[in-house]
């Protein structure tokens, strides 16, 4: 009650300030008047009485101030005054303000960008979904603690028997590419298979048409249906308002459009936005050649449930575990001790969450350091300005402003700068975000990657908190320093030494040098690692080579027709002008597909019940090794004769030989695929060990099988051209269409472009850290330059005296440069130590570089010394030119 009344009284005096102050005025002056009258009654003159009262009772003005400042609302009011004053001061110095805001905005913007990515991948609930907080994702949990997706029959079990969800939906976890035939061209589009309750359970209202009907889960109907994404409808159907009811041809089958999803629905997986959705019943058309709906061994379903009202996540977890155990009993062979896990459906799937968190944390640390450098820069600016403003401070102090009030004033100015910088910085994410996304490999398969950075409330809150924290931290020390004024000497215009200020300034310079050196060193490590990764020999030669991924299977071609297509294609490509050789592979190494086959290796069988050894492999056509530029160490390459009628053959790499047949001649040895049918392959050749899954992998065994031995519709054509291959790409494409016009071309690119996939992580870290490192260098250099320049300008007087006393210009130059150099040396030493720590943190991002790489550390230190010396030399030269007479007269 008392608090409420006090607040009411406070508000009253705030809003009726005039009235309240007039009353107080009247009361106080009455008080003093009455006291004066009493003294006069005792016989004093009016003037004497007045003076006596003032001594005894205090003056009117001071009393007013005392009473007024005892009110809590006076703090608000003075803060408001300070704020208005701060705005005026900042507007009066647009140069200073804009430099400070821009510097900070760079640092804050970097933080906002990285946080916006983390927000998208980890924290932001999927867009366009009603009550996203009720959604949970459900996973198989293996006995070793790993999570895996569901098979479709497993999903149905959980969907039909759970008691905790108002619905459980399913969608295909891997992006599925389908051919899309339009008049005149065959394209590729990214699709997602979903359960029929997908849209209704998510609470999504299509902008046109409808979602799926429950019946579409069980029967495909005469013509299968499709719901388009807004993006697809907008970009590829020209926002056709009459699209519902139209027919599209995917994988050679007709689909009728029944609806268009709203713009904000981009799927449930951050980063992967399907272009259209079809019901599960269309699986055999969308993913031909497989029956995933009855297959219990294919784990490809992401399941997402909506919790019933009042059901907690742990209750759901309990129910899911029960259902998982029921399944274990039904399928004891396949599911031994499996469990189910329930996760929040926000962000990337749990298996990637830890990775994303780790990378995010490292990047946040890096941008945090960049911001720290920006802060020290602005602190330095504020410090210099504080010194220039010391007269103003002295005047205010003389007029009765307390030190606390001065500090508050200066802090408010700093925070104001920071908030302005936060506002500018947050706009950075809209152009830095797309810039980062440009680093993705330029291959068609990644067109499904779609990340929209959004300034949602989390990003805004984060950015403003960072800005506020920055404002207080860079504002505090200069405010403390600048509010320390010696009123008398300052007002008397005595020459001022800024000694304490210069100690603080030196500290800031050393901090900046150290931080930026550490950042630059990690950037250097990442660049070196990228160079290393690029120079890693992948085992084949990417230059002057093209690749085209084909899949006649999705057009429903039979094996005979598919084989004939590939045979004719190879014949025609081989004789094209500009082509030196061409071949096929089921998949290329270092891509997204890595498969291993369990095999029994001759002579490598410790026990009869020894399980088969999994060895990674690919299947390649005749002439593959020539076309890819892979040398053969011994034996021969596959030929046309190595097909399904010929005895099985294989080619292995050196590491395979070293590990399984050390010191023996591998040619003629056997690898058995199936002990029962005695299906085995004879080794006919050996290649050097290349890279197969990752560029930084240690040598691993690898084997090649003849492509023609068995048939599968998917294959990648590799073409070695004699010259530059940009023009060859379209020539090869039209040659393919000449053979079979309808065959969907899944992906075309040069092998150099393809190599950007394995190089992606190295390139990403080199680009990001490189950019941040350069930003840090630029900020720290300007910081150092302005600090030295300022100290020179402060010491013009001293320099003038020294020169008048006979100091040579060279001495002055040396003095300035050596003072700056001393700070830089200290900073470099601390920074080198810091870069060892930072290097350890980013070690997992590096290819073949030690985190304490001496070349990088030495060159970064040298670069810094050079830049720093330049930053010192320019102001020092100015100091050298100081005219002693001018400097002395100036005071």
């Amino acid at each position: 009650m008392a608090i409420l009344r006090s607040i009411a009284g406070g508000l009253r005096s705030l809003f009726r300030k005039e009235q309240v102050n007039k009353e107080l005025d009247e009361e106080l002056s009455d008080f003093l008047e009455m006291a004066t009258e009493e003294k006069m009654n005792d016989g004093m003159s009016r003037a004497d009485a007045h003076r006596a009262v003032r001594l005894e009772r205090g003056s009117l003005e001071v009393s007013k101030e005392v009473v007024w400042s005892a009110r809590w609302e006076s703090v608000l009011e003075t803060s408001w005054q300070d704020l208005r004053f701060a705005v005026r001061m900042l507007r009066k110095n647009p140069g200073f303000s804009s430099v400070a805001v821009l510097t900070l905005a760079l640092g804050i913007g970097a933080n906002a960008t990285i946080f916006a990515f983390a927000d998208t991948l980890l924290f932001r609930p999927p867009g366009g979904v009603a009550s996203a907080d009720q959604l949970v994702s459900v996973w198989n949990r293996l006995p070793n603690g790993n999570q895996t997706q569901f098979s479709y029959p497993e999903y149905m079990h959980f969907r039909d028997h759970n008691k905790v969800f108002s619905g459980l939906l399913a969608y295909s976890s891997d992006p599925v590419q389908v051919s899309w035939v339009q008049p005149g061209q065959t394209g590729v589009a990214n699709s997602q298979l979903v359960s029929a309750n997908y849209f209704s359970l998510l609470g999504v209202k299509p902008v046109l048409g409808r979602g799926f009907l429950p019946s579409e889960d069980t029967t495909a109907g005469a013509v299968p249906v499709v719901v388009l994404s807004y993006r697809f409808w907008h970009a590829r159907m020209n926002s056709d308002p009459n699209v519902v009811g139209k027919t599209l041809i995917f994988n050679g089958h007709q689909f009728v459009v029944v609806g268009v999803a709203p713009e904000d629905l981009t799927g449930l997986q951050p980063g992967f936005a399907p272009e259209f959705w079809t019901p599960m019943t269309t699986q055999s058309v969308i993913i031909p050649g497989e029956d995933r709906l009855t297959n219990r061994d294919g784990y490809w379903i992401f399941a997402v449930g909506r919790l019933k009202p009042g059901i907690s996540r742990s209750q759901a977890q309990g129910n899911m575990s029960v259902l998982a155990r029921q399944l274990n009993l039904e399928y004891p062979g396949a599911r031994k001790d499996w469990d189910a896990s329930v996760f929040s459906n926000t962000g990337v799937p749990p298996e990637f969450r830890l990775y994303a968190l780790g990378l995010g944390a490292v990047l946040m640390l890096i941008v945090g350091l960049v911001l720290l450098i920006a802060c020290t820069n602005v602190a330095n600016l504020l410090l210099s300005r504080g010194f220039a403003r010391s007269k103003e401070m002295a005047v205010r102090a003389a007029l009765g402003a307390s030190r606390g009030r001065l500090i508050r004033q200066l802090l408010i100015e700093a925070v104001l700068l920071a908030i302005a910088a936060g506002g500018v910085g947050i706009t950075f994410i809209f152009w830095t975000g797309p810039l980062v996304l440009k680093l993705l490999p330029p291959i068609e398969m990644l067109s499904v990657v779609h990340i929209d950075l959004v300034a949602d409330w989390r990003v805004v809150c984060f950015t403003m908190c960072v800005a506020l924290a920055a404002g207080v931290s860079f504002g505090f020390a200069p405010a403390l320093r600048s509010s320390q004024v010696n009123v008398a000497s300052r007002l008397k215009e005595e020459p001022q030494g800024d000694y304490h200020g210069s100690r603080l300034r030196n500290f800031l310079v050393v901090t900046q040098v150290a931080l930026s050196l550490a950042l630059l060193a990690s950037a250097g490590l990442c660049v070196r690692s990228l160079l290393n990764a690029q120079s890693i020999n992948p085992g084949f030669s990417p230059t002057n080579r093209l690749m085209v991924s084909l899949n006649p299977g999705i057009e429903g071609y039979s094996e005979t027709r598919g084989r004939a297509f590939y045979r004719e294609l190879l014949d025609r490509i081989a004789v094209m002008p500009g082509v030196r050789s061409a071949s096929l592979a089921s998949w290329l190494p270092l891509g997204f597909t890595n498969l291993s086959a369990p095999v029994y290796i001759e002579g490598h069988q410790p026990a009869s019940d020894f399980p088969p050894t999994p060895v990674p492999y690919t299947r390649v056509g005749p002439g593959y090794f020539a076309a890819m530029g892979i040398p053969l160490l011994s034996g021969r390459e596959f030929g046309r004769a190595d097909d399904n009628d010929a005895p099985g053959v294989a080619i292995v790499n050196e590491e395979f030989v070293r590990r399984y047949w050390p010191g023996q001649d591998p040619i003629g040895k056997h690898i058995t695929l199936d002990l029962k049918t005695h299906d085995s392959l004879e080794v006919v050749g050996v290649t050097p060990t290349g890279k197969y899954a990752r560029l930084n992998e240690s040598p691993r065994p690898f084997m090649y099988w003849p492509l023609l031995r068995s048939y599968s519709p998917e294959a990648t054509l590799v073409v070695q051209t004699s010259g530059s291959n940009a023009s060859m790409l379209s020539a090869v494409k039209s040659e393919i269409q000449a053979v079979e016009p309808d065959v969907p071309i899944v992906q075309t690119e040069t092998l150099d472009e393809y190599m950007s996939v394995p190089l992606f992580s190295a390139r990403l870290s080199a680009s990001l850290l490189g950019a941040f490192g350069l930003l840090a260098l630029a900020l720290a250099t300007t910081g150092l330059y302005s600090a030295i320049a300022y100290s020179v300008s402060q010491r013009a007087h001293e320099i003038g005296i020294r020169m008048a006393l006979g100091a040579r210009r060279k001495d002055i130059l040396w003095q300035i440069v050596s003072e700056g150099g001393r700070l830089v040396l200290i900073g470099v030493a601390i920074g080198l130590a810091g870069s060892l720590v930072l290097g350890r943190l980013i070690a997992s991002l590096l290819y073949g570089v030690s985190s304490a790489d001496p070349v990088v550390l030495a060159s970064v230190a040298a670069l810094w010394m050079f830049v720093a010396m330049t930053a010192c030399y320019v102001p020092a030269r100015r100091a050298m030119r100081v005219d002693p007479m001018v400097a002395l007269r100036y005071e």
Binding site: S6, E23, E27, L28, D30, F31, S63, V66, V67
Partner: protein
């Protein structure tokens, strides 16, 4: 102004003393100061600032209320009077004060 070390004590007691003054009869600011000075035989001499800070605080706490009235020499002045809540507070504070004084006296007189 009061000496710094005793300010807290004075502040607490000042509120109580003002309440006591107003319990006798409603009066204006100067009246409070004069009466307090008389009754303390000159020991407590209030300056305008500290008096009105205390009056403002008591008013906001709802212990006293003010009203503009004409004075005996036909001027306008704000007269303060005790509220019921102020009376209660005065009683409890007087009791507490006597208790403390008695306790302090016992301590100081113990030999």
């Amino acid at each position: 102004m009061a000496d710094k070390p005793s300010q807290d004590l004075v502040q607490g007691t000042l509120d109580m003393l003002i309440l006591k003054m107003l319990a006798l009869e409603p009066m204006h600011g100067y009246g409070i100061a004069v009466r307090l000075e008389q009754m303390s035989q000159g020991v407590f001499r209030l300056n305008a600032g500290s008096l009105f800070v205390a009056v403002q605080r008591l008013q906001r706490d709802g212990l006293i209320r003010g009203e503009w009235k004409a004075t005996e020499n036909s001027r306008r002045a704000k007269y303060y009077a005790l509220t019921a809540k102020g009376q209660k507070r005065l009683n409890s504070e007087t009791r507490e004060w006597s208790r403390q004084v008695a306790a302090i006296a016992r301590i100081l007189e113990a030999s």
